[in-house]
């Protein structure tokens, strides 16, 4: 049985909770006390992930770390529709990988600012983290604005979201907990609404649900 080493307030763990919910994957969860227990740095946990980071999965003995890597694995193995990570489409895979790397940048900036403000990571240079997040959000907002212009709903082309959307969503949504406002990014804010309406969407602490979309007849 698939097992997720999870911390409720972690956006990176949330990525996997979202993926598993979208795919309807049964799994067990082992809670790791990230704060205040610092359990992810414990000897026991470092034997599972020497980097001492969450999330980690254990799928019948295959132990994987890194949210983006795990998204690739889960989508490739369990998504029968092949839409979350279209393995046979090199152009899509290239674009998805590009945005997975971008999501890592969001973690390094927006999530770092949140760790500083909300979880007492006082050694972080929060001004640098915030301005780094704004630099990335400007780029993503422009990308999403022009995606809408050509009728594209998601970060990558096609009529279905991909793991790139999942990888970017949590720390954008939690950015305000690190003092990074989304007000300047209206295209990102609209994409967040669309993302929250994906069937199977789940919330976490600090992430609120969207209301239903306008039905087409009323539009």
């Amino acid at each position: 049985m698939l097992k997720l080493y999870d911390y409720e307030l972690s956006g990176n763990c949330y990525k996997l909770r979202l993926m598993m919910s979208f795919l309807g994957l049964e799994h067990t969860t082992e809670a790791v006390d990230f704060y205040p227990g610092n359990q992810h740095k414990s000897e026991a946990f470092r034997q599972i992930n020497p980097l001492g980071q969450l999330p980690v999965i254990d799928d019948d003995g295959l132990v994987l770390r890194d949210a983006q890597a795990i998204l690739v694995y889960l989508a490739s193995k369990y998504d029968t529709s092949g839409k979350w990570y279209p393995c046979d489409d090199p152009a899509m895979l290239g674009q998805i990988s590009q945005w997975l790397a971008f999501a890592d940048g969001i973690t390094a900036t927006a999530s770092a600012a949140r760790l500083h403000d909300a979880l007492f990571y006082t050694h972080i240079d929060v001004d640098a983290a915030r301005s780094g997040a704004h630099r990335l959000f400007r780029i993503l907002d422009e990308h999403l604005f022009f995606a809408e212009e050509i009728g594209q709903t998601w970060i990558c082309p096609g009529d279905h979201p991909t793991i790139a959307d999942i990888a970017c969503f949590p720390y954008i949504m939690l950015a305000e907990e690190g003092g990074v406002s989304r007000m300047d990014y209206p295209a990102i804010r609209r994409w967040c609404d669309r993302f929250k309406r994906i069937p199977g969407f789940k919330v976490m602490s600090g992430v609120f649900p969207a209301g239903p979309a306008a039905d087409q007849s009323a539009a």
Binding site: R138, E142, F145, F146, E149, I150, R182, M183, D184, P186, R189, R190, D193, F208, P209, A210, G211, P212, A213, A214, A218, A219
Partner: protein
């Protein structure tokens, strides 16, 4: 203090920034707005905070009709920003005074405009009859520095910039193409450049045009931000969030006249909705109508001097008009006949603000509506509210014949939840009611409105089946009780420190008014609940149809328009 800046109109969004069911976050001169488009197209610009705990409404849910706060679910109506429902108080109608701050808004030139204290129309822009709104570019710099730098904005060498009177910059090229850029001051050191291009462009050229200007303006943004970073940031604006006014905080003064008619409306549509039932659509002569809640009624002051109460049938968010249904009563005392025969489309009427003595709980697992004849009207508004929220209900409508079915379009929205029971005898009606009310349950609520005998029958059946009084809600539209006003007794007014005598032939309400104590009233026949008053001591002779049997037995309330005392003295909480 109002400054010139506050009186200006500024664009705060592109029209395309407001798709349906989205809440846009804006800011102007340091003040945040929650901006949302209702399904009827109306653009709402509100203070970005819930009146309850101050949570930003820009993270709320736009359901197309109302905006719901994410924190405790307070709901606010389209247009009025009045609170329509507080989930923690499901049995109470929110006070009319719970209303968020709204700001002037207009949509023009592909942009949404707002201003804290703006009046009149947004500036007319010559030469922009056809246009394309460019991608807005936010930046960290003061408004004046941005406007100055925009004079140098160029997409080819012939471009020349000029400042317009209202502060925007127009850049024109030799081929006649022009871009006019408005600078929205979010705060003293935070702005947005909002450009419009003076041509409509084809789909094919559109993206290229937008991309080119997005790129050029971002280049300009980077230069301006570099310059701004070398200077000390100006002091941020300190917007004053208006406090709730004193008169709203205090217990509202009892109105001078129990029946005020503050609102003036025009009857914009009068049509027969069923056999002998006319529907009236009323729109404000100016301004907006106050917030209503499902179940509310208004007083209509008729041209012949009579005052009549009618329930609103509006669905949630229908805030640009009120709709009522009026049945021509065969034994009319002049109210319904006047509306049917004399009132014309285009006539003006005086009406009261909506009053809700028939509040709808939205926390029941399932709601049963039982309507008889014209009693359907308040229940339509209630069921439309539940329907819009996707809450479970069933709607039973008892009518004489198909021709008597009113508001067919509105009740058609209920689809499978609607059952119309046509032409049943009193016995058959009783049997049907017994079937509808066969399984009492604390998690379900029943709302009944209809003719007196049917209400009595429904209340009896509900009681027999074991429904508690708390779960059965009813509204009479008239009191058919034979009133006895032969008694004489004293009333002690605990808060006013007065003792008055109520003689035979006069009501408590009459005596209160004669002695300068104003009391709200509406129907003045013991049906509507408006003149309800607390009883501290004494035995009440109830003659109203508003209070439930339990409430009557408790004896803690009295309808001052019809009810009297069985004891020599009543102590009232006035």
């Amino acid at each position: 203090m109002t400054t010139d800046l506050q009186r200006n109109w500024y664009p705060i969004a592109s029209s395309t920034d407001l798709p349906k069911r989205h809440v846009y976050q804006a800011q102007l001169l340091g003040r945040e707005f929650a901006v949302w488009r209702a399904d009827d197209g109306y653009v709402n610009v509100w203070e970005n905070r819930c009146l309850h705990r101050g949570v930003r409404l820009s993270i709320g849910i736009n359901d197309g009709r109302e905006l719901k706060c994410q924190y405790h679910g307070w709901r606010y109506a389209n247009r009025t920003a009045g609170c329509t429902y507080i989930p923690a108080h499901p049995a109470d109608a929110p006070a009319r005074t719970i209303c968020n701050n709204t700001y002037p808004a207009q949509e023009a030139y592909g942009l949404v405009w707002a201003g804290e204290e703006a009046t009149g129309d947004v500036p007319a822009l010559d030469g922009f009859d056809d246009l394309t709104a460019l991608r807005p570019i936010p930046l960290i710099a003061p408004m004046n520095m941005v406007a100055e730098a925009l004079l140098e904005y160029k997409w080819d060498e012939s471009c020349k910039g000029a400042r317009n009177d209202e502060g925007s910059v127009t850049v024109t090229a030799s081929d006649g193409t022009a871009v006019r850029v408005f600078v929205q001051p979010l705060d003293s050191n935070h702005s947005v450049m909002r450009g419009i291009y003076n041509r409509a462009v084809s789909e094919d050229d559109r993206v290229a045009l937008l991309k080119r200007h997005s790129w050029l303006m971002q280049e300009l943004r980077d230069r301006i931000e570099a310059q701004a970073a070398t200077q000390d940031a100006p002091e941020p604006y300190h917007p004053v969030i208006a406090k709730v006014s004193e008169d709203l905080v205090d217990i509202p003064a009892i109105s001078e006249d129990g029946r005020t008619a503050d609102l003036r409306v025009t009857v914009t549509r009068k049509e027969m909705t069923a056999e002998s039932i006319v529907s009236l659509r009323m729109e404000p002569i100016k301004g907006t109508l106050p917030t209503f809640q499902p179940g509310a009624h208004i007083d209509v002051h008729l041209q012949n001097g009579l005052v009549r109460q009618y329930s609103l049938t509006n669905g949630p968010g229908e805030t640009d008009h009120f709709t009522i249904g009026v049945k021509r009563e065969p034994d009319s005392r002049g109210g319904s006949v006047s509306i049917h025969d004399n009132l014309q489309q285009g006539d003006n009427l005086a009406i009261s603000a909506p009053r809700n003595n028939f509040p709808l709980r939205r926390d029941s697992v399932h709601t049963i509506f039982v309507a008889g004849g014209i009693g359907v009207t308040p229940l339509i508004a209630m069921a439309r509210a539940l329907n819009a929220q996707g809450l479970s209900f069933e709607f039973h409508y008892f009518v004489q014949s198909d021709d008597h079915v009113a508001f067919k379009r509105e009740i058609g929205e209920f689809e499978g939840a609607l059952s119309i029971h046509t032409g049943l005898s009193p016995d058959a009606t009783g049997a049907k009611l017994a079937e509808i009310l066969s399984s009492p349950d604390n998690s379900r609520h029943v709302y009944i409105c209809g003719p007196g005998p049917m209400l009595e029958a429904t209340r009896e059946i509900a009681s027999e089946k074991g429904w508690s009084d708390d779960a059965v809600h009813f509204e009479y539209f008239k009191n058919t009780t034979e009133l006895d006003d032969s008694s004489s007794f004293d009333i002690d007014l605990a808060r006013s420190a007065m003792t008055l005598n109520v003689p035979a032939g006069k009501s408590i309400l009459d005596v209160l008014r004669e002695n300068g104590i104003n009391m709200s009233s509406s129907c003045e026949q013991g049906a509507c609940g408006t003149c309800r008053c607390g009883v501290i001591e004494g035995e009440v002779a109830h003659q109203d149809v508003y209070l439930s049997d339990t409430e009557k037995a408790e004896g803690k309330s009295i309808m001052t328009c019809v009810s009297r005392a069985n004891s020599d003295r009543l102590i009232l909480d006035i």
